[in-house]
Subunit: 689 residues, 2 copies
């Protein structure tokens, strides 16, 4: 859907505008009045005038005929919304905000009303924001169509319009807006997404992708809408502009993937993080990181290459910065030979010429200036953190002035400061703020904010566009486990080597080569280990006979499925046990899983996930992300195990997921791996019916 | 050492005070002049008057004879310090601050000068703070004996004197002081520890333990001095008052414990963290957490029991708070039946009566007041986080007023707020600050600050006083590996079951029961796996002969130690392989290690450490901290492994460490464990010579 007209209306009508200043509708009306180049009409069938403006009793009575350029805001009780929406539809209105609450978030009845609105909107191709939202702000147009008190005119935001902030929570949205409003932060758009009945984050991302006023999008989300569409848009988007997301409900394991082993180890946030990684999203862990990123990004340099340098007048804070960098896996730049020589020329002899560069406690503004200049001129340096602690020789104002002076010569580098302290560094901090240089009260916050952004910059060239799997999603009413031997056949058909596996029959016990493993399989034996349905090291026919007799005895029970069978396999030696699996996520499509198998699986949770559209390179990347990878690769001069064949097996699962869209879940556990091959020893395949 | 007189001098002399206002000595002099009930003398052999005060050419010329009550501050070049110190010593001066830099931090010559100062100070029993420090502040006495600009008179600190802040870094110290100075934070003492040549954190902790003005001690340290003494004092101290430490150099693995496997897995910060855990220290991860703790603790309730409750007018921030709580392993209180019933009586019907308690977006101040009152009255609630987001019905000022009103009725509970936003919540925030109720800009920061403190409160009753091991530390010039069979004997003598192990000799090959494992042991085979000195599954005498011939061949090489021998052991079955070990840390004494053995040791690093003074309870706690514990305990109805015998083995190592103070390191790797026993299969013992 195109949102240009939605976000830039010529006319706005507020249904529910009122003379009562405490009403939400009135607040929206008052806010909207401030817009430039936009006529705003109050709609109220009981009042004649509202705040000095003629009120209209009906939407149809408005003195316009250009309905496509009208944005209608609903601030009326939920039960009246549908009726009014239908009127709008008939007039040809295409852009709607439903502020009203009382829909799916409130009750079953609300949910039903919301569904009706959705159906109507999709049928008539109408943009609906909400319900249960604050509205939106288009800051460049000075357009506040929300009931937030955010004052467009009063803050420094006009200078820069570069961050779009979308929030699913109205409360978080209004808190962040309020926080932003007395900071020097550039906001292009604010959108309160509400219940996301029709428009969701993806629609706005598609719009913002082509919006020249937006350099960065920050989202607060409680859940991702249309996961595969999100992946498609976000992988394209974040190659050009950064997208940062704070997702709440991270530790809620309630939505765990279910049924099989594979699933129970990967919580839904793990899947979301996998999608974020795939899409090059900057992942925010808390609101503080959200604030810090907002403060960091004044006007992000487009072509930033290289690593971080630090210049400081004290050792302590540098150590803290390095600790944090190391915890965040962010690298420090290594100064070039020339930079080092130039630094050596003017710095005191005690200075150790390295990064972080400690220019000592007696550093005067001139020393800061020269050191900063040289660090920034180094090609390996993309960004600079300048640390200043109160010292008798240090005039924070003068140092800040020097930074402001140098700044303009290095427009394609990022400069961040950490002037530590209060009154003694106040002058410098004031000056930095005036020149839009972000200052952080602690070096750790500076590093934290930088790390996520620098990581994004480093990875973004590798972001590969996500291709929709093209497999229509189905809603299955029930599921069945594929027959055991059919599961093995499926693997074999896709090139995954399997352990020989046959049904165990009384008459053939004498012809088998022992030792063997016997397994009871089928619908009554889903968790074989738990149900004692695995018999290792069966050494001869008489032992095998006993086991088989046990199975026969079980089969006499009522409800014992005739799809249960006893099978046998030769005993295989293992070098290492792994698990590979696949789970069709209702949001992000097929998700592949690779992990350590055997008894340690659940305690060490050495598991990696990947989005299903993978190639061999991505399969190798999965393997390398395993903690156990050093052993797979071969330690202490030992020959490594066959990661090549392992990558092939993962790819085969990906292919299976594309070929059979009724396979909702499958797991090979264990998958033995040795120097030459991988070998599937057990498999479970679940199909939707 | 007693520091009462040091911190409360009757007279102060500043050697190096000067008419030049830029000199450090002058700054210290000016600051000291502000003290009440204390005479301050400038000492300068070139000037007659300094800032209107008569200057004295020599310390001996001062018009006093009560030298024990004099504090002398040195602000002169390092090279003159010793001479002046000797003069002071002769006069009977006992309290000295050396501000001057240029000692061990600067050069070898400086290190030597510092050593001479140390020797003199210890010989004459003189308190020396520094060198290379800012000095100290005794806020209650309005005494600033430092060159920090911290203005005692100007800030709100006088109201409360409860946090003592000790900093090893002068820069961090001055930054924190400066930051504190316009906040409503109570500071009892600030001490800049500098090089800690004589006085260190332990001396000040001993003083602060009995200081009624100090409720909490926060330290910034680069290293812990006298680890065992620290443990002794801190375990006693933190049972009464909290101690929080930010240690820098956390990720520096440079000081790794060395030589054996045991060591290489435990970095020095791991050992420090183990000591902190043992002592009930609140561990700070960064300066932000330090600031947040300072803001949290206005006047900590002494007897705080129970868990955290949250009251909020919005769902989003509550979810974020719960995410953070869960990440920090902090529990939420469960409201009592009565509290729930009382809440239900007045809250809107849509409210879900649980913790966090969402009192909805339309919550008026009265609803806040009642909900807060009921939550605080619940016995299971020790602390309350009140979240407020800007909403049209919410008047932040009124809510703040309600909180301030209730507060005094719950003096033994902790109240923290998170009023989210800027201008819209400014009135409320101002009021909270005035009433010393800590407010955090994000809920995550509030939770982060609370978590560490609540965890401390929960654990502090379990803090056991550390008993010095009583084993004099020795400096060994070299080390030797104990002969292999002697190592096994040592274990056997201390009740640890060992696998039978004998020297392998040609003449007895025929009499051995096969299969066996053969190992080459001794000084040339320290890392048996790397050096291919282990031969598993030797099935008969001829295979054994081949291996032994190989050993004989190696023994012909020059420099092949005659302490090397080939040994054999029966092949033992394993359920699980563990490692236990012990390392005598130069700072904290014997450290015990328990971890997963076998091939996964290095990848999963499932290792726990403990301070050497352990008992069986602590040994069990170590076992329970292992990630692999669920398997040891027994999963899926399987019988568990013998954790009882494992605890005994750990205790045995602890006993060995006390009995033989020349054993610097030992490791049993692998230690097999099954349902009935543990079995040492390999051992290495290192002794100091």
């Amino acid at each position: 859907m195109k949102l240009e007209k939605f976000l830039n209306p010529k006319y706005i009508a507020v249904i529910g505008a009122s003379s009562n200043k405490n009403k939400v509708g009135r607040k929206v009306f008052d806010n909207a009045l401030g817009a430039s180049n936009c006529s705003v009409f109050p709609i109220n069938n009981k009042e004649k005038k509202i705040a000095g403006h003629k009120a209209y009793g009906e939407i149809g009575g408005l003195p316009i005929n250009d309905w496509k350029n009208l944005l209608v805001v609903f601030a009326i009780p939920a039960k009246h919304v549908l009726t009014e929406l239908k009127k709008c539809t008939k007039l040809g209105v295409k852009n709607i905000i439903i502020i009203s609450a009382g829909f799916k978030e409130a009750s079953t009845k609300g949910l039903e009303m919301e569904k009706e609105i959705m159906e109507l909107a999709f049928k008539e191709n109408i943009n609906v924001l909400g319900p249960n939202c604050l509205g939106f702000i288009n800051n460049d147009k000075k357009l506040n169509v929300s009931f937030s008190n955010f004052n467009i005119g009063d803050n420094g935001i006009k200078k820069k319009n570069n961050i779009a902030f979308l929030s699913q929570s109205g409360a978080i949205g209004s808190a962040v807006l309020d926080w932003v409003s007395n900071k020097n932060i550039g906001l292009s758009y604010f959108v309160s997404l509400g219940n996301k009945a029709v428009l969701n984050e993806n629609d706005f991302l598609e719009f913002l992708e082509r919006d020249s006023k937006t350099d960065l999008v920050i989202l607060y989300l409680e859940e991702i809408s249309q996961g595969e569409r999100f992946l498609e848009i976000a992988t394209r988007f974040s190659k050009e502009k950064p997208v940062a997301i704070l997702k709440s409900g991270r530790t809620d394991l309630g939505e765990k993937m279910t049924m099989s082993h594979t699933g129970s180890m990967a919580g839904s946030y793990d899947v979301v993080l996998t999608a974020f990684r795939r899409a090059g999203i900057i992942v925010l862990d808390d609101v503080n990181q959200l604030f810090n990123l907002m403060r960091l990004i004044k006007s992000p340099a487009k072509n930033l290459y290289g690593d971080l340098a630090i210049v400081s007048n004290a050792g302590g804070p540098s150590v803290l910065a390095v600790d944090k960098l190391s915890e965040n896996n962010t690298s420090l730049a290594v100064f070039s030979k020339k930079t080092k020589e130039d630094l050596k020329k003017f710095l005191p002899i005690f200075c150790s010429i390295q990064n972080p560069l400690d220019i000592l406690g007696d550093a005067c503004p001139e020393r800061y200036e020269k050191a900063i200049d040289l660090a920034l001129s180094d090609k390996k340096v993309s960004s600079l953190l300048i640390i200043l602690t109160p010292q008798s020789m240090t005039n924070s104002g003068e140092v800040a002035r020097a930074i402001c002076k140098i700044k303009d010569r290095y427009k394609n580098k990022m400069i961040v400061t950490s002037f530590l302290g209060g009154p003694e560094v106040a002058e410098g901090k004031k000056l930095l703020a005036k020149h839009l240089i972000p200052n952080f009260d602690t070096v750790e916050e500076a590093v934290d904010a930088l790390s996520g952004y620098l990581l994004y910059l480093k990875n973004r060239t590798n972001i590969k566009k996500y291709n929709l799997t093209g497999v229509g999603k189905k809603n299955f009413s029930s599921f069945k486990i594929l027959d055991y031997l059919d599961g093995f056949k499926l693997l074999k058909d896709h090139g995954i080597k399997t352990v020989p596996c046959k049904e165990l029959k009384m008459e053939s016990l004498g012809k088998i080569k022992y030792p063997i493993t016997i397994k009871f399989t089928g619908p009554d034996f889903v968790h074989k280990t738990d149900e004692k349905a695995i018999f290792l090291n069966i050494e001869n026919a008489s032992q095998a006979k006993k086991v088989l007799q046990e199975f026969k005895k079980m089969s006499l029970k009522t409800n014992f499925s005739d799809r249960n069978i006893a099978v046998y396999q030769p005993m295989e030696k293992r070098k290492m046990e792994l698990i590979i699996g696949l789970k069709r996520d209702s949001n992000f499509g097929p998700i592949l899983l690779l992990g350590l198998g055997g008894i340690y699986t659940e305690v060490y949770k050495d598991i990696v996930l990947e989005i299903g559209d993978l190639n061999k390179k991505k399969a190798f990347e999965m393997i390398k992300r395993l903690k156990v990878y050093p052993i797979l690769k071969g330690v202490r001069g030992e020959k490594g195990l066959s990661v090549e064949k392992l990558a092939d097996a993962i790819l085969a699962l990906s292919k299976i997921s594309k070929k059979y869209n009724d396979i909702t879940e499958m797991e090979i556990n264990p998958l033995f791996i040795d120097e030459e091959k991988v070998l599937a020893v057990d498999v479970r395949v679940i199909k939707g019916l």
